[in-house]
């Protein structure tokens, strides 16, 4: 007589197992992976319904929606991993409309052969980030591609949120005279990733700044509802985001190099890698533009929040039909902070 229970299913081997094609095949293996890993980690009432969609009531008012695909290499880095990055990235994109993020959706593309132990670690980190942010992952999808057709793991997240009444934040609203504020040091994420890249490995204490900024945004919007522009300077860094604002709003910008907070270690790493910190990616910083009379109040609100403790007013919006972003260098000269040419660091987020 067999001692095995009739309803026994051998659990997924998260120690030594690897992703195989059956995990995306729609059969029992896929169902089991979803149940034992994704549903368990993200556990919430919407996932518990077991549907291919999530059903929820929407609050009244204006909603925002954002999506973000993550292909960062390596998948795990000092200060984070692709999982928490995928949560923070989309929450931040939603929050930059001044919105309160409500729900996330996540799509996973797994490469055949990917270690299940790594997948579990990343999914659990992602779930922890989502719980900490108070923004649940309510629906998702998993696909598997053959070995060599992916690079371990890609994650796409989509988020929705609701914008409080009276808040009008958009990249095209900057006006000459407005102040430009930055929430903290730049370049930390890019340098943390770069330190692990093949051919470049160098030792650094720099950790990625990956963080969900929606609570910082909430305090900012509450203190200064007149904020005109908000954006997180991810790929392309501060320089690129300012150029985006300048183009959208049809204005120029003048910033001061000496006002921009950069960690000494980031400066040093950029120096020997030949990078300009202005163009290095961030995952937990934001740039805000507001009317000059509100700037001090906004700065105080930012500095009162841990994620904005090192906030600074870095410059002003100016009238300039050519839309140049100019910078007064610490050295005393003036230069253009142009759009980035080519790609400074590939696959940074």
């Amino acid at each position: 007589m067999t001692k095995v229970r009739s309803d026994y299913v051998r659990p997924v081997d998260f120690k030594h197992g690897r992703v195989d094609m059956t995990h995306g095949g729609g059969g029992r293996a896929m169902a089991q992976l979803i149940e034992e890993l994704f549903a368990r980690a993200f556990s919430n009432e919407w996932l518990a319904q077991g549907n291919d969609n999530a059903l929820f009531t929407v609050p009244a008012g204006r909603m925002v929606m954002a999506t973000d695909s993550h292909v960062v290499s390596p998948l795990e880095f000092p200060g984070g991993d692709i999982g928490c990055l995928a949560v923070h990235g989309t929450i931040n994109d939603v929050a930059m409309a001044g919105a309160r993020p409500l729900y996330l959706a996540a799509g996973f593309i797994l490469e055949e052969g990917f270690p299940l132990a790594t997948l579990k670690r990343i999914v659990e980190s992602m779930a922890a980030a989502s719980r900490e942010a108070g923004v649940p992952v309510v629906t998702g999808d998993t696909k598997v591609v053959e070995q060599g057709k992916g690079d371990g793991l890609f994650i796409t997240t989509t988020g929705i949120g609701v914008v409080p009444p009276g808040v009008e934040i958009s990249g095209d609203r900057a006006r000459a005279g407005d102040c430009i504020l930055l929430s903290g040091t730049i370049g930390d994420h890019g340098v943390a990733i770069m330190s692990l890249r093949e051919n470049l490995t160098f030792e650094t204490t720099i950790r990625s700044d990956t963080a969900a900024l929606h609570r910082l945004v909430a305090t900012m919007v509450e203190a200064v509802p007149s904020i005109r522009c908000l954006r997180d300077p991810t790929r392309g860094g501060l320089g690129t985001t300012l150029n985006e604002f300048a183009r959208q709003s049809g204005v120029g910008m003048l910033i001061h190099e000496s006002k921009i907070p950069v960690r000494a270690e980031v400066n040093a790493a950029c120096e020997f890698l030949g990078l300009d910190p202005l163009y290095v990616a961030n995952e937990g910083k934001l740039i805000a533009i507001c009317p000059p009379e509100d700037a001090d109040r906004l700065l105080a609100a930012m500095r009162a929040h841990p994620l904005g403790a090192k906030a600074a007013i870095i410059g002003k919006v100016v009238a300039d039909a050519h839309g140049f972003v100019q910078m007064e260098t610490s050295f005393g000269g003036r230069r253009v902070v142009d759009w980035l040419t080519g790609e400074q660091l590939p696959r940074i987020c």
Partner: protein, 404 residues
């Protein structure tokens, strides 16, 4: 930060600027060529021109390694990857240098990388580059150091791996080292396509050019001498033309304060009527240079009789090739590379800009057809190129936009 911020101190810069303004005589001008792209970049990035009086003019020289690489050489590199199916490894900036439209051998009118280049044949400026060849399937890899290329050869024993070596005296010793390492390892699949060029020959060529010697189109009163190149070759090689051509040379580091100090030293030499080689970069440069590096280079390389530079044309004894004793690692010998000179795009003024005859803004295609995203000429490719440096950091000055 230790040893970086010290050389970018704004207060010190303003003090040197005050001295330059005080000492530069208003009745004359000071036309100074910074030979190196590293200096060109520093001048633009830190806005050094803003600190100089109007009669101190900086003229950009040809010392940007990718800028002086002629089209024909890029064509050769693409051919190595396509016709010979080799893995071609090179430094990042080289990837974007425009090659000729029909690079590689013609195959029945078709482009070797598939499809034809219809607009290219009309000379529209639609040209290939290593980057574009890579996107079309050629195996071209960006490396951070020569040693990476050697490792790729070890990792791919079944493939031919070619290191597309470019650069001035600074990057030559690392190439010499990997050639010797390849020999020691007995690597049969590794070769170097050598395009190393020499600084003193180029400076002499500029000073000998009719624009400088006879026509006086390019007033050239003195030189800021190379930083990193001089760490290898020392300051001694510049003594000849300081004396022969009566032009002062001040060797300077690449930090903005180095450049400011060198300008002050040149102004002083010109005021005194001196034409000496002075060394501002004493923290790294000696008169003799790096003997070990020099002997390594002498062991592996020998002078070429002549080499084509973009902008300067054929310059005698201005480049290196691999010696007979290391012939097995010479891509030119192994693959029988035939060099074919290709004319630059007619609208492009890179040649005149590299000789100091024209400024980037004198070029009709600057900032319009030719931008860092779509460079027509090589000066727009590297951040050390005169056009790219001006486009990226300084072009607001051309249209008189002043911040409110």
């Amino acid at each position: 930060m230790k040893y970086i911020e010290e050389f970018r101190d704004g207060d010190l810069a303003r003090r040197i600027a005050t001295r330059i303004r005080a000492e530069a005589r208003p009745e004359r001008s000071y036309n100074l060529m910074e030979f190196c792209g590293g200096h060109t970049h520093a001048i633009s990035r830190y806005g050094i021109k803003d600190l100089l009086p109007g009669n101190v003019n900086m003229i950009h020289g040809p010392g940007c390694p990718v800028c002086v690489l002629p089209i024909g050489r890029i064509d050769n590199a693409i051919e190595l990857a396509t016709k010979h199916s080799a893995i071609v490894c090179t430094y990042a900036d080289t990837m974007r240098v425009p090659a000729s439209p029909a690079a590689g051998p013609p195959q029945g009118g078709q482009h070797p990388l598939g499809g034809c280049e219809p607009r290219a044949s009309r000379g529209s400026g639609e040209s290939l580059s290593l980057m574009k060849a890579k996107a079309r399937g050629a195996d071209i890899r960006m490396v951070y150091s020569a040693a990476d290329a050697l490792r790729i050869a070890q990792d791919n024993p079944a493939r031919d791996v070619v290191f597309f070596a470019i650069g001035f005296e600074t990057t030559t010793p690392p190439t010499a080292i990997i050639i010797r390492q390849a020999q020691a390892l007995g690597l049969a699949n590794f070769t170097v396509f050598c395009n190393h060029v020499l600084t003193p020959a180029a400076i002499t060529h500029i000073l000998e050019s009719p624009e400088v010697r006879e026509l006086g189109i390019v007033p050239l009163d003195g030189f800021i001498g190379p930083a990193h190149v001089s760490t290898v070759i020392g300051s001694q090689p510049y003594e000849y033309f300081a004396e022969e051509y009566q032009r002062p040379v001040v060797i300077a580091g690449f930090e903005p304060l180095d450049v400011m100090q060198a300008i002050l030293m040149l102004v002083r030499q010109l005021n005194d009527g001196r034409a000496e080689v002075e060394n501002e970069f004493t923290r790294a440069v000696t008169r003799e240079g790096n003997e070990k590096a020099k002997s390594l280079v002498a062991d592996v390389f020998e002078l070429r009789r002549s080499f084509e530079w973009r902008g300067l044309g054929e310059v005698p004894y201005s480049a290196l090739r691999i010696k007979e004793s290391y012939a097995a690692f010479d891509a030119e010998r192994r693959f029988g590379i035939a060099y074919r000179s290709v004319a630059d795009n007619k609208a492009c003024e890179c040649g005149a800009i590299l000789r100091g005859v024209k400024k980037p803004t004198d070029c009709k295609v600057f900032g319009t057809v030719c931008t860092p995203e779509n460079p027509i000429g090589s000066c727009m490719v590297s951040s050390e190129g005169a056009c790219a440096a001006h486009y990226t950091y300084g072009r607001f000055k051309d249209i008189e936009v002043r911040a409110a």
